[in-house]
């Protein structure tokens, strides 16, 4: 197909050191990760101070939905990584819309779980566990919303016949942001749902 022939190839960054996206982006990503680590610390401290309340409240959550969400994000990340490799080697890619679908699925399931938990009578002001749960997963959800924007951006890029080096760096940046959204949930999920 002519579209394939027109795509430029870029060397895979395996033999030389390469910053994904650009250096400045990592100020933001690492900064965000540090902020979330502070959140993780709060959860751990609460667990240590009020273990009984923590465990009792934890029962109101839905670990099966949490597991499903975790798998959705992992699938999305794998698809994004694959899509990025394809973009880099100039091949056409169709994996990225599926990643977007996973992200939307996560948001929908999260909404369902919030509704279920609230329907059971638990709100952010019920106790500290639920305050942290709603606020921290809520902030994560806001990050995911931006991540959906990043995925959309990647899809738009993938439709172009040719990608400049600048485009590719932007794609790496968007992909890295998405992986961060995944990474943060990988810690939030066990801390809220699994560690009793």
């Amino acid at each position: 197909m002519t579209a394939t022939a027109a795509r430029t190839e870029h060397p895979a960054p395996q033999r030389h050191r390469h910053i994904p996206g650009e250096a400045g982006l990592w100020v933001f990503l690492l900064g965000d990760m540090i902020m979330f680590s502070v959140f993780f610390g709060f959860i751990a401290v609460l667990h240590g101070r009020h273990p009984k309340m923590f465990r009792a409240s934890q029962h109101a959550l839905h670990p099966d939905l949490g597991l499903l969400n975790t798998l959705l994000l992992l699938i999305a990340s794998a698809l994004v990584a694959r899509g990025l490799r394809q973009l880099r080697s100039g091949r056409p890619t169709r994996t990225l819309p599926w990643a977007l679908l996973c992200a939307l699925g996560f948001a929908a399931i999260k909404g369902v779980e919030y509704a279920l938990v609230i329907h059971d009578g638990h709100t952010p002001s019920s106790n500290d566990f639920f305050m942290y749960y709603f606020v921290f997963t809520g902030i994560h959800l806001a990050h995911l919303a931006i991540g959906i924007g990043a995925l959309t951006f990647l899809i738009v890029l993938s439709r172009r016949p040719a990608l400049s080096r600048g485009h590719l760096l932007a794609a790496e940046g968007a992909a890295s942001y998405w992986h961060m959204v995944d990474l943060l949930w990988l810690v939030l999920f066990p801390l809220f749902y699994l560690v009793a």
Partner: protein, 238 residues
């Protein structure tokens, strides 16, 4: 645009930080009192420290105005990056102006609170609540400001950008750090209360750090302004 005026305006960032933190200390804002204090304890606080609170507030009032030239310099720099970024410069200016108000409005409310400390403690507490909420929950203009600045910096097409690209990402991160304070309305204790780690300490730290990082960058950028070949239409006002 006069390079010297731009540099001086940008340097007001340092003046602001000095005045702001001096005021915080003089007025006993650090460490912040808790929303869970009783009305009597709040009233006693104002009675015991009346004059140092009043003095610190006057310092802070002056400090609020010093952000005006700083914000204006930042908008000028944004327009200098590219005259087509004028809407972003305007957004920054509007949000920055809101920030000036976001500082002096709570200052005036605190001043009223400290004016007659021997009044009924319930009234003092109500005024105190009003003052603290306007002081800590006022972060949203800063979010808009930081995002406008970040986007403008990334739009710089020069080989050596006027403001470094990492500063854009720093602004985006700061925007996130300012956000938790919006939740203080729901809490009287914990990290999101007006004296909490996330609403106060992280946000205040980020706020101070933002000035301390942006000011030297802006001063350095101002020194480069006359070196650039300026687009012809740059002298038009926002």
């Amino acid at each position: 645009m006069s390079r010297r005026i731009l540099t001086v305006c940008a340097s007001f960032g340092y003046v602001f930080i000095a005045l702001f933190f001096a005021a915080l200390l003089i007025a006993h804002w650090i460490p912040p009192m808790a929303p869970s204090w009783s009305a009597e304890r709040v009233a006693a606080f104002y009675t015991d420290h009346a004059n140092s609170i009043r003095a610190g507030l006057v310092v802070m009032l002056v400090g609020a105005v010093t952000t005006a030239p700083f914000v204006a310099a930042l908008s000028s720099l944004i327009r200098r990056i590219d005259s087509r970024l004028a809407p972003l410069a305007a957004t920054q200016l509007v949000c920055g102006a809101a920030n000036v108000a976001a500082i002096f409005v709570p200052v005036l409310i605190f001043t009223a609170t400290a004016y007659r400390p021997d009044r009924s403690p319930d009234i003092t507490m109500a005024l105190n609540d009003t003052a603290w909420i306007t002081l800590v929950m006022n972060a949203f203009p800063a979010v808009g400001q930081a995002i406008a600045v970040g986007v403008a910096i990334l739009a710089d097409k020069r080989p050596t950008p006027l403001l470094p690209r990492w500063a854009a990402y720093l602004n985006f991160w700061m925007a996130f750090l300012f956000l938790p304070s919006i939740l203080l309305t729901f809490f009287k204790t914990g990290p999101f209360a007006w004296n909490g780690i996330l609403s106060f300490w992280v946000a205040a730290g980020a706020f101070g750090a933002w000035f301390l990082v942006m000011t030297p960058l802006m001063v350095r950028a101002a020194s480069r302004v006359d070196d650039d070949r300026a687009p012809a239409d740059l002298e038009t006002a926002v």
